[in-house]
């Protein structure tokens, strides 16, 4: 009787462990399929030519698969998004956790959660019908579908990630540190930027990394607002010109390629690069959080 209970418990625990391990299996399968399908491209095209190729002409004869314009497109749009989202996001997080009265903070938090809930295709649609025409008019551009439009939309979309994780980190700074600073006669603002924010810096950095990951991986929004021209963006003028990101290339072109073709494999190769980039970003964010986890002797 007792033995059967114990073996039943053991069976349940094993089952639960097996289910948890499914997550690891999925991650391995994703890697296998992406790298497998992507690697098939390199039978015909040297890996370095793909990685450093300056042209993406997938339908020319012969086709040219150069990642560089797409990679730089992604980096440019992401960099712009980060420049917009980081100051706004960190300032908002500081406001919510350090300045707003608790009641106001309780109202602000769900409002910001709304930003996280809006589907990316709705952001894309909003960018398309509202932002792009205004951008074109305001800056007198030939088209409003630019890297800048993508950066603005992605910046907004990265905000909830940056705000909520930064806010957690700022709230986690122990009160006695702030009280010590205030007791020394520092103002609240001096306490915030000399004590609280530095103490929460690891969490804030992780928040920025994760916001960046979200921006790099975003597909529908950039596809709808950046114009999708696969050219190496100039700097800094490229921000006002159309670009094509890696994600948009996959989503736009996959529908038209014959399965098993070179182009098909090239899109998987882009996916593999994207997967590696976001994996690295996640690992770094995790490491930053872990390494500088706030240590205060109790």
């Amino acid at each position: 009787m007792l033995k059967s209970t114990r073996s039943k418990e053991f069976a349940i625990e094993s089952l639960l462990l097996a289910v948890s391990a499914v997550t690891v299996v999925i991650l391995i399968l994703i890697s296998l399929f992406l790298f497998g399908e992507g690697a098939a491209l390199f039978k015909d095209i040297p890996f370095l030519d793909f990685l450093t190729g300056k042209n993406w002409y997938p339908t020319s004869e012969p086709p040219i698969f150069g990642l560089l314009p797409l990679l730089l497109g992604t980096l440019l749009v992401t960099a712009g998004a980060i420049i917009i989202a980081v100051p706004l996001g960190i300032a908002s997080a500081v406001f919510i956790s350090e300045i707003a009265p608790p009641k106001v903070a309780e109202i602000l938090k769900p409002i910001i959660e709304i930003l996280a809930g809006v589907p990316s295709v709705v952001y894309g649609f909003f960018g398309l019908v509202v932002l792009i025409p205004r951008l074109q008019q305001l800056l007198d551009l030939p088209t409003g579908q630019t890297a800048l439009a993508g950066s603005i939309m992605l910046g907004i979309m990265a905000l909830p990630t940056i705000i909520s994780i930064s806010e957690d980190a700022i709230s986690a700074v122990p009160d006695f540190l702030k009280e010590g600073s205030l007791a020394l006669g520092a103002t609240r603002w001096q306490t915030i930027y000399r004590v609280t924010v530095p103490a929460a810096l690891s969490g804030i950095s992780a928040a920025v990394m994760l916001g960046m990951g979200r921006a790099i991986g975003e597909t529908m929004t950039v596809m709808m607002v950046t114009g999708n021209a696969a050219v190496i963006p100039g700097f800094p003028g490229g921000i006002f010109a159309p670009v094509k990101t890696m994600t948009a290339t996959i989503a736009l072109e996959m529908g038209e390629v014959p399965q098993g073709s070179e182009h098909y494999h090239a899109l998987f190769a882009i996916g593999a690069v994207l997967f590696i980039i976001t994996l690295l970003i996640n690992l770094i964010a995790e490491a930053v959080k872990r390494k500088y986890r706030f240590k205060v002797g109790s």
């Binding site: 809006v118 709705v122 894309g124 915030i192 989503a251 996959m254």
Partner: protein, 284 residues
């Protein structure tokens, strides 16, 4: 330069400005979609299919497709996610295996949805032979929301005070019984909240279904899980970027965007309300 008091005032003004800009973004987007979309919504719009090469008519098949995707992906992701969370929160002890699982969940959560789409295409559509279908798309979406469900369930279970578990275990009750009779009932509202939030996510995801079975237009509703389907987010994308007459169908686009937004935000609102309700009730 400035006295500390003055610089504090300036700094706080900037911080207030920042949050005001963020809140303004939220209201602008919602206001714009709502005020432009509300006129398009009618009973016909919600219950009829698109007509005249998608320049007229409604979005009924897209709503049906989205509902199918929600049911399909939740049927897979909910049991997997909850069981995994139970293991991680109630059974696992710190160690290498648990660390690897946690890392895997973190990385799944950070993987772009279009990468899940590629994987779904290679694995479910091609390798397993499901074809472009509700089944392939649901499985792909299940993977997208799996980390969300695991994290939310874990968090919900972590709020159950350890004393309750210890009391139960001290009475000689087994761990599984403790989980079933003590932990899960208390954690349920939090877990439901997580599940509802992931429904919103499934309803709004576009890139994964784009690669695994969403159709531009279908004259009939899907009748089997091996059929292709229309879905709200993809329908909006198609109408807004490659429809027959993009400028003339703007009202339909706004209407579709509004329906999608209402579903997602409505779902989120319900989740927040549930969380609030039980937070008030459960004070230890």
């Amino acid at each position: 330069m400035f006295s500390p008091k003055t610089s504090e005032r300036i700094a706080f003004a900037f911080l207030t400005l920042a949050i005001a800009i963020v809140v303004a973004f939220v209201f602008t987007i919602i206001f714009y979609i709502t005020s432009n979309g509300i006129g398009a919504i009618s009973t016909d719009f919600l219950t009829q299919g698109p007509k005249n090469r998608m320049t007229e008519g409604g979005i009924f098949p897209a709503i049906v497709g989205t509902v199918f995707l929600i049911i399909g992906s939740m049927a897979v992701a909910l049991p997997l996610g909850i069981l995994a969370a139970i293991y991680l929160n109630e059974y696992a002890e710190e160690g290498r295996i648990v660390w690897i699982i946690q890392m895997a969940i973190n990385n799944l959560a950070g993987t772009p949805s279009v990468v899940f789409g590629l994987f779904g295409l290679a694995m479910f559509v091609k390798y397993m032979g499901f074809g472009a279908s509700i089944l392939a798309a649901s499985l792909t979406l299940a993977l997208v929301v799996l980390p969300v469900i695991i994290r939310a369930s874990e968090e919900a279970m972590a709020t159950v005070p350890p004393g309750l578990r210890e009391a139960s275990l001290a009475l000689g009750v087994t761990r599984w019984q403790t989980v079933r009779k003590i932990v899960l009932p208390i954690a349920l509202p939090g877990m439901v909240t997580g599940a509802i939030l992931s429904v919103g996510r499934v309803a709004g995801e576009t890139a994964p279904i784009l690669l695994t079975g969403a159709a531009y237009f279908l004259p009939r509703l899907p009748t089997a899980i091996s059929d292709q389907f229309m879905a709200l987010p993809y329908h909006l994308f198609v109408l807004a970027t490659s429809g027959t007459n993009i400028a003339a169908t703007r009202p339909i686009q706004y209407g579709t965007a509004l329906v999608l937004l209402l579903i997602v935000l409505g779902v989120n609102f319900v989740a927040v309300m549930i969380r609030r309700h039980y937070k008030k009730k459960m004070r230890w």
